[in-house]
Point group: C2
Chain length 567, copies 2
């Protein structure tokens, strides 16, 4: 690590030097066995001792003691001293729902997040295409027509003039709609005109029955299947880039929400090489090869403790932004449309039953109130008396619930895996979609928590930014990164800073069957922690989004240390 201490406050500079000296513990003769860390505050998330000033861990990354600085100094006289001064230590943050490969790939594809109109989209695409070989597909992601003046879906024609010979394929911000140009559509070996629709998806068409270029949910597979596969080196590079971005933001764990067996094997190879800087809790994507592997070979855990898979991720419905979320009644801004079940109820029951029979945890994506109800019903039917057991089945997003369904999560022991930044990204238009009555059951983490459900928090990156500070901030303020609206959107749903932190640590660990090893700082657990310049439980909520991550530790080793500002 290279440090520059110029133009840095003296306190921060000396702290960074301390962190630098405390880099990875290498197996050398002089390496001390024990490190004793002291800080302004350690928020342990351990209910028996929520706050401490010091923590000791061994060279293997096991926590030996949490407590008083003087007592620990006496108990471990030869220990390496890691004095963090005014900094605050919290358990390593865990993103309970994200897409690591997608985050990495996003850096390898055109970034369309935040584009204000189609002209800006085209400009970014032209810039990106300059480095592409001829004939290569131009991939992009992150557009959102709600941010554009016209607020309607774009068409292939919008792209064709600029890209008459190169296939262009652009994923919407929520991953539930994609936008193709005519070259990309021609690559599909099938006539996309007419009035047929693929199962679980929709091809938007004009009055003459011609595809407009927009493919909703499962319809995107038509184009996906036509594009040349990612080469292995790029796929691995995407994972490495995604994980690197994660640890730089204080994450020590990510639940990767749905991967195939190829991707899982990629993770395994990285784990075998000691190249996972954080803990990956992988979910098998639907009823596919990864679930089959779990059923055949049993639940998976890598000996390093950095990789596990024991979960299947299934999609009940689509997303709200693209009106693909399955609702019990019509969209308020689209009469006649109630969205889509991506997996019909009988299919949902089948995969959930298969998972249960294999001892696999289920994590079902459900956004709309119908999507959530179908999942709850499938869980109730399949679990039966087993609902009282330690199944830890989850609903991913749990975004819109009918009021009567809210308490069913707690009743069935189902975890609400929610993404606070979804609320603040969707708030400008969510009530348009849902109307004033249904909005009460939407993004309702306070009500869910009040009903006794456990909240595992995450970001859904790259749909939202990887930065968990934004999630903490959104959870506590119900305001976006600009602090709007003042006082928060539907402020009755706010969490406290402690609850938000718990959702990103202990309860996320619980959702990954990992609370015995990570998620809080207590004797016998792993020394996964984050060093923050300020105390997230003490700063005014608006400052949560600006917390400085000074270092990220996994198994007692720094996997990220902040370099100086003035490099």
């Amino acid at each position: 690590m290279r440090l520059s201490v110029r133009a840095m406050p003296a306190r921060l500079a000396s702290l960074l030097l301390a962190l630098s000296a405390a880099g990875p513990v290498v197996a050398a003769e002089a390496a001390p066995e024990v490190t004793v860390l002291t800080a302004h505050a350690i928020h342990t998330l351990d209910a028996a001792r929520p706050r401490a000033r010091a923590m000791a861990f061994d060279a293997g990354g096991r926590i030996l003691a949490v407590g008083d600085a003087e007592a620990l100094a006496r108990r471990f006289p030869g220990a390496r001293d890691l004095d963090l001064g005014d900094a605050t230590v919290v358990p390593g943050l865990i993103d309970a729902h994200a897409h690591v490969g997608g985050l990495g790939l996003a850096t390898l594809t055109a970034d369309l997040v935040g584009t204000r109109d189609k002209a800006e989209v085209l400009q970014r695409l032209r810039d990106f295409a300059r480095d592409l070989p001829p004939g290569a597909w131009l991939l992009g992601r992150g557009w959102d027509q709600n941010d554009w003046p016209e607020k309607t879906y774009p068409t292939a024609a919008d792209l064709d003039a600029a890209f008459p010979e190169r296939a262009v394929w652009l994923e919407r911000i929520d991953g539930h709609a994609s936008w193709a140009n005519s070259v990309a559509m021609r690559a599909v070996g099938r006539d996309l005109s007419g009035d047929w629709q693929p199962d679980g998806g929709r091809i938007l068409r004009d009055a003459a029955g011609r595809p407009t270029g927009i493919f909703i949910d499962a319809a995107a597979a038509l184009v996906e299947d036509a594009r040349p596969p990612l080469d292995e080196a790029t796929a691995e590079r995407a994972l490495v880039l995604g994980m690197q971005a994660a640890v730089e933001h204080g994450l020590t764990g990510v639940h990767d929400a749905g991967i195939g067996l190829d991707q899982f094997k990629r993770y395994q190879r990285l784990a075998d090489r000691g190249a996972l800087p954080l803990r990956i809790t992988a979910m098998a994507a639907g009823d596919g090869d990864a679930l089959d592997a779990l059923c055949r070979d049993g639940l998976y855990s890598h000996p390093s403790g950095r990789l596990q898979m024991r979960t299947v991720k299934v999609y009940a419905d689509g997303a709200l932004g693209s009106r693909g979320a399955a609702l019990l009644a019509d969209y308020s801004d689209d009469p006649g449309n109630r969205g889509l079940m991506l997996t019909p109820p009988e299919g949902l029951h089948a995969v959930v039953r298969k998972a249960r029979d294999c001892g696999v945890q289920v994590a079902a994506h459900a956004i709309g109130d119908r999507g959530n109800r179908e999942v709850l019903q499938a869980y109730a039917d399949v679990l039966g008396d087993g609902a009282a057991g330690d199944h830890r089945w989850r609903i991913e997003h749990a975004q819109v619930l009918a009021p009567g369904d809210l308490p069913r999560l707690a009743g069935l022991g189902v975890i609400a895996s929610m993404q606070p930044t979804h609320a603040t990204s969707d708030m400008p238009w969510a009530e348009d979609r849902l109307g004033p009555e249904r909005i009460v059951g939407a993004y309702s983490w306070r009500q869910l928590r009040d009903s006794g459900a456990r909240l595992a928090l995450g970001s859904d990156f790259p749909v939202e930014p990887v930065d968990p500070r934004l999630g903490l901030h959104a959870a506590v303020t119900r305001a976006d990164a600009e602090g709007e609206p003042v006082g928060g959107w539907r402020p009755e749903e706010k969490l406290t800073a402690f609850e938000a932190l718990r959702g990103f640590t202990l309860d996320a660990a619980y959702a990954g069957f990992a609370e015995d090893t990570v998620g809080s700082l207590a004797v016998g657990k792993r020394a996964d922690f984050v060093v923050l310049a300020e105390d997230p439980l003490a700063v005014p909520p608006a400052r949560l989004r600006g917390l400085v991550v000074l270092a990220t530790y996994v198994d007692g080793e720094a996997v990220y240390t902040r370099a100086g500002h003035a490099d």
Copy 2:
């Protein structure tokens, strides 16, 4: 009401004029039947519609509609228009644990709150005594030796020089210790020397066995019984003063935590005269005449809806400040002392059983971890299978709980009736009394709420100030009225502003079996509400203590309206 609009912002002035015009609805020919109120925001606390802009109520104080301003204006064309502009409306605040007569009496006795040493106590007593007739007892309350340099109990001798002939009797801030001079002790018709102690209390004595002047818990009754009773006019005046102070702070309901039949009859007479400005939910004091009346005559409800009694308040133990709270192990700062059960376990069982047999709700004062455990055990034993029923038994204070006992409240359906300002008043010394391990289970409203218990919030006035803004502020910030400590004491226990408001409204109403009529603003319920100059769910938490109460409404009538600043 007299208004002065000089030196007042124009917006506030016009708002006060609007409130003035909207004074009590009198039964006159011209009185409109319906009022339609509009405000910046109405936080209804109704889960089905948490936020609205308008509310209609009839001349009888019944809410007719909550919703959109235009829709209500159309629906009630002839209605009186109460435009509250930028103000925010919340349900009337309910203090779930307080002492109305005590608050009024405090204004009729010497106020010793905040005295910094004994010299200041003597000065205030001398000032107060000037207006007293010769021979009258000098009563005072509010001293706290923890605020004095020596931090030890005072003695009778400290008072005797200044008051050699007048009885002086001064209650400690927490009501669990009192300080007498020698004249007051001589009024007790019994030798207070020796080594005997009264049941449930303690007379502090010197090495020679002489009483020092301090009487802990039940020992105070020895002196209380010796002093001339309060005359009826003064007792009623105290109630009226206490209720007036309450409505001026936005309270529309108080649970009066333990009164005798005399006091109850005083309330009844006031109710008969229409002189209760807010709703009183009285608790019968222990196994006394008021409980006997409930058992004989049944649960009580005045036809006006302003007075009910259906609860018995029993004391399990004493208080923490005076080391009278019953602990499972020794006080950390007083080895050998484990505090006192004011009602021994068998007595607790007996009164709880009696209450159950009479259909009376139980509210047991419990501060120490032993006090709380004994109450939980008595509740569990006596309720049996009835724990699953709608008993709504409460623990008052629920201040220190053994970690294993925390979830028992939710398990038994027991309400935690807590006072946020107790935490911030006690924080300077609470950990001295309890040590670093027990403190984790103390003032733990977040843990209790997480465990599924319902929180009814209050102030315990006059032990703490009547002002519920201080309670909201303490609940949300875990900081005192000066904002100390920055970031809050044990911030993991913070509530959100919405949760704090809920504890002072809907859940306090629930604790008083009144959530069908008050506690939220919904059709069919009573128009009990408070008009605040700012939105408590939107302001930064530090501003909660400075919220301006513009008006307090009960049954749709203003029982308090703020006068201009510049009178």
